[in-house]
Symmetry: C2
């Protein structure tokens, strides 16, 4: 029997000796060793080659001293076995060449090829072996709304008009689509847990495009279904979103163990707004990593002060590390969290 990690204890709101810390996109373009790998391989090539994905996942671990690794993958990987043509175009992000616009597009989506994503599980196994249980590995999946909006819009979007048009205009088709996504995303998350993921983060990156009323009516039931099914696999679920500062309490109804807060809220007030029913993760502005150290320290300490030593805080950014971020500042934040949160 191995003692649970700081990270897992915090997910379960158990007392810890100090606040665990990891960063979204801690493996990524800001790291020279990651850029070196990317010069030879595309993003999809790295994801699909478990030894490379494992290598990239582990790059930041020792360099930064974080308390969890997150598997290197992309939330749209499950689009491929569903029959969608996924590409990554420099500067534009993910593109779906055959987006889902009609009833027949929805019906054509395959939901029985999740095994094709076995390379992600394999990468998780490799990471776990190489970490030798020093720190846990986090797996992740896209949330139904964010996944749906990518495959409807055909890529990133600013106004989500096609997505909302389906949601408002064809609610039965919308529900059918999100139901099909659940059939892929839930087993995919479970496969990551079987491979050794100690937690699953559900990325609802675009939830902030929605009004609270639309979230509740069109999205919450699907997110709740997914989170419930992942929870049954026995690991804590982290629910990530941005731009929903006005309705975290509604997101909390989706039932995750941990709510990931962005920097547009004060951590103490947001935690209070959800009645401290879940753990919270966050919530430094990724741009604060460009600040001089005294200002950066002030912001880190402010977040820890707002968390107030209450069990159930995981230090993180409010969103992913930005490409030009100075590595030494990321490392400095880990040290600050260790220094100022030790109890």
């Amino acid at each position: 029997m191995i003692a649970p990690s700081l990270f897992e204890l915090a997910c379960r709101r158990r007392p810890v000796a100090r606040t665990p810390v990891w960063f979204m996109r801690q493996a990524g373009r800001y790291l020279p060793e990651y850029r070196a790998v990317r010069r030879r391989r595309s993003l999809l090539q790295i994801c699909k080659q478990p030894d490379l994905a494992a290598e990239v996942t582990l790059q930041p671990v020792d360099r930064l001293g974080v308390d969890a690794a997150i598997i290197f993958a992309d939330l749209l990987l499950p689009a491929e076995p569903m029959g969608l043509r996924l590409e990554f175009v420099a500067g534009e992000g993910p593109l779906i060449r055959n987006p889902v616009r009609s009833r027949s597009d929805v019906e054509a989506l395959a939901t029985n090829h999740a095994a094709d994503l076995g390379y992600v599980g394999e990468a998780i196994r490799l990471v776990r072996r190489r970490l030798d249980r020093r720190i846990p590995v986090i797996g992740f999946v896209g949330a139904p709304f964010t996944f749906a909006s990518y495959i409807i819009e055909g890529g990133a979007s600013r106004h989500f008009v096609r997505t909302k048009r389906m949601m408002y205009g064809e609610p039965a088709l919308w529900n059918r689509l999100l139901g099909k996504l659940l059939k892929v995303l839930a087993p995919y998350a479970a496969s990551q847990v079987r491979a050794g993921a100690a937690a699953i983060q559900v990325f609802d990156s675009w939830a902030g495009a929605l009004s609270p009323g639309d979230y509740q009516r069109y999205v919450l039931p699907h997110s709740r279904d997914l989170i419930r099914r992942i929870g049954r696999a026995g690991v804590p679920v982290i629910h990530f979103s941005t731009g929903v500062g006005g309705y975290y309490a509604m997101l909390d109804q989706a039932g995750a163990d941990v709510l990931s807060l962005d920097w547009r809220v004060e951590l103490d007030k947001a935690w209070e707004a959800i009645g401290h029913r879940s753990a919270v993760q966050g919530n430094l502005d990724p741009a604060a990593l460009f600040a001089p150290l005294p200002e950066l320290r002030r912001q880190v300490v402010d977040i820890l002060r707002r968390a107030g030593g209450r069990p159930g805080h995981i230090f993180n950014l409010g969103h992913g590390i930005l490409p030009e971020t100075p590595v030494e500042n990321v490392k400095a934040v880990v040290e600050m969290v260790r220094e100022f949160s030790t109890r």
Copy 2:
């Protein structure tokens, strides 16, 4: 003595017979008559030719039956007399060819050529004359943060890294820059009031990029200064932003008469969060204008129900009308607001 309009009464939280309604970007690309003008003229040409700006301002007035006109202009127009080279590039929005990055860039900004913006006042005078006092005209300016971020980044931005780097790393320079902007924006707003604007909307479109702490420390004092100076001109000030659902109460401290709410909050809860100290404007999702009429009506009625007939609600979107929006749905919203808010 002319009786104040529904719009002006609502700005002052006085009782009205029905809820006034207007739309951000009610003159714009979704209107065929606007696109017809744009085929012959650039955006800047329209802004700088008062008869054209007036024509475009008035296009939606009779077609939609709105309760206020908003002058057709761009919030970056004051950049030109400050010595910045402003362009609009199709698909990219505004670009500043010589962005403000250093101390010498800040020092080089001129603050004494606001008179060069006289064409905006002239357009307001023309609009007022043609409206013959049927409805009021709203003027507008950019808020210091949003204006600064445009001229530092050189255009729209996703992560505002250069802006925040100056804010965090060179706070004295940041304050110097925002102080210089105040010297241009406040007289520019006052000139619009002299020309007949019945209210000024201050657009802090990018405020939602900031944490509440950064907003309070680096932005709030400057916004408060600007709003106080506009208020002295004797008209109500509307404070617009998006993405700040977690801290409207802090924005409210900037002292505007009306807080413009985006759709990421429930209007009743946000109004309560600011203790009903200001009027509120909003807050339909612009994408809801793509919904079938029954769904659109449900959302309009929900907003009116949340406003609850309390004096001080102006119906609007949470942000501007989107380019492909069906004109008939915009018109339908005006009719719904009239029907369901009449007291």
